[in-house]
Symmetry: C2
Subunit: 361 residues, 2 copies
């Protein structure tokens, strides 16, 4: 591929960003990442610099009106920052070039209509996110799925910035991915491309049951929840005289074990914890190999909470992908990289929905 | 997705074709499908109608000059048909609108330069197919991978014609696939997207070794060769007093068992043969489920020799894909269909390389 060829799709910014002092008049946007537990909002400029940040809990009451009011309030605060303190959103566009508001929501989204079709995390179905926010803010509003906006964020100013064809996989409680092909986000005609968390990896009849109703999905083997389930089982076996592990003490003391506890125990030399992490990484590698064979990407970026343990995850993942990928596709792969934007990726990418031209593919 | 939206890429012809008598003056092209054993050539018009056909063995001597001479000779014969019998290719464009020559070759191709980068079947490396044929024929020449041209053929006038986003999987000696996304062929930046035959399905350390050097690739479990290997093992077990199967007699009489023999035995009620076919179909279903989860296609088309046994393959494949695919992606899938063009798919698609506008994605 001739990488100098202009892309018909999302223009990934590759010029070095000017110093912030030179970019006072660049357009701004508000990006919001609505999670099941956390709401993150950023004021972002057209160079991808973060100018202001808000982060707070998503309302416990997941009624769309309640949640969208909280989203709107956070947008108003960030628009006020853009205007230098004024809290009346209607006048902000007169004062500064605010291009609009982008929002990432968990679950399938129709980005053309700005509707969240379905969200298990929020208990939503057919919620008109864009029109609600547009009416209350008076600005253009774009909405997309949370994993896709995180993918756009990593592609715009994060770990995938040097690449035109890449996959961003988020490994948290669940596993999802966003796919960018030749600079264009590939959503799929049903808006459900990139469902790597549900590709069948364990095909035995007694494979673990997934939340989707199928068995043996990658998500049941390599997600944060899978690591926690394995850790609890190992701790219970240890308590009953099985192989010793410090995870038994964690379970006894806290009543539960998080994926972070497993990573900490593995780093402290606990062999059982290390094996749990490595097994998860090997399963993830099988899924990554499948995606690399099918998409032929230049890079794979791993984000989400579990990717925070890159010291444990990265080497095993790289080895497994090398062993499991069709050799020409592996030779073409420039890297498997940890995400660069952390918890900001989704909101940065949401802002890019309004700051960066897209072709709506 | 709004399916009425014009695609920026390959324009898939959806108008009803006129009667041949009305289309005397439509452009023509020669499409050639160069296989390791068979060379197929077609004269095709811009409606996708086949006007003339040649099929013969690929030269045993796989030297590029020898093979390309045979390809050129077949093209000359078909161009002569276009000109109504004249055998001098240089004058043909004056007599009829011959748009050019398209060629499908086995192995990775750089379609921009028309170079076959590598072909294990032919023993080729960096063979300049397009420039050789262009110089000797005086017409535009386009070259692409054999599976991709078969995919274009099925999309243009075959089983995938109603769809804009689809995958065509060829199950023969090996397993490959071509991927069309929103009307555009997705080749991948390294020209090796769609390598579904090499996604890891059997992850056990002692999984069968693949020709690519990895273990447990889909191709080792669901290809014609995999079916033949299983059949031979079952026949040998039967000869040694294991479960009886008519395949033992086939092996004794012919010295080998083809995938077609296994299909015939299964249809005649042989339980062992039926199980071999069903197991292959289940493995194929795992690979299809992975691809459907990642690409979110409207349809999957299965071609290649093994797909000829659709009565055996289809029902098990459909059940497995239903059981293994993420439910929203399965609901979106309009169908899993057998290929419609048979052995002509590759040459029809090769002709479409010069007859149908593409964006070179």
């Amino acid at each position: 591929m001739d990488s100098s060829k202009p892309s018909g799709g999302l223009t990934l910014e590759r010029e070095p960003a000017p110093l912030p002092s030179e970019s006072e008049d660049v357009p701004l946007a508000v990006g919001l990442d609505l999670g099941g537990t956390t709401l993150t909002g950023l004021l972002v400029d057209a160079w991808g610099h973060i100018r202001a940040r808000r982060r707070r809990g998503t309302p416990a009451d997941k009624d769309p009106e309640t949640v969208l009011t909280a989203v709107r309030d956070m947008a108003v605060e960030l628009l006020a920052e853009a205007a230098g303190g004024l809290r009346e959103p209607a006048v902000i566009p007169l004062l500064r070039p605010v291009a609009g508001v982008g929002v990432g929501v968990p679950g399938p989204v129709d980005p053309e209509r700005g509707v969240c079709l379905f969200s298990p995390n929020l208990g939503w179905r057919d919620v008109e996110v864009a029109s609600y926010l547009h009416e209350s803010l008076g600005l253009p509003v774009k909405v997309d799925n949370d994993v896709r906006v995180a993918t756009l964020g990593e592609g715009w100013v994060g770990a995938a910035r040097p690449f035109l064809t890449f996959i961003v996989i988020t490994v948290g409680t669940g596993i999802g991915s966003g796919v960018v092909l030749d600079g264009r986000l590939w959503r799929g005609p049903g808006f459900s491309a990139g469902e790597i968390g549900h590709i069948p990896v364990d095909t035995r009849p007694d494979a673990p049951l997934c939340g989707c109703g199928r068995r043996g999905c990658l998500e049941t083997l390599a997600s944060g929840r899978a690591i926690e389930t394995e850790a609890r089982a190992a701790a219970e076996r240890a308590a009953e005289g099985g192989e010793a592990t410090s995870l038994a003490g964690v379970l006894r003391d806290k009543g539960r074990i998080s994926a972070r506890d497993v990573a900490d125990a593995a780093r402290a030399g606990d062999a059982v914890a290390r094996r749990i992490f490595e097994t998860a990484a090997e399963h993830l590698g099988v899924g990554v190999a499948a995606a690399v064979n099918l998409f032929n990407p230049e890079a794979v970026v791993i984000g989400g909470g579990v990717a925070g343990a890159w010291d444990l995850l990265g080497p095993v993942l790289e080895r497994t992908v090398r062993e499991r990928t069709f050799p020409p596709n592996h030779r073409f792969l420039r890297g498997i990289l940890p995400a660069a934007l952390g918890e900001d990726a989704g909101a940065v990418g949401a802002a890019s929905l309004v700051l960066v031209p897209q072709d709506g593919m």
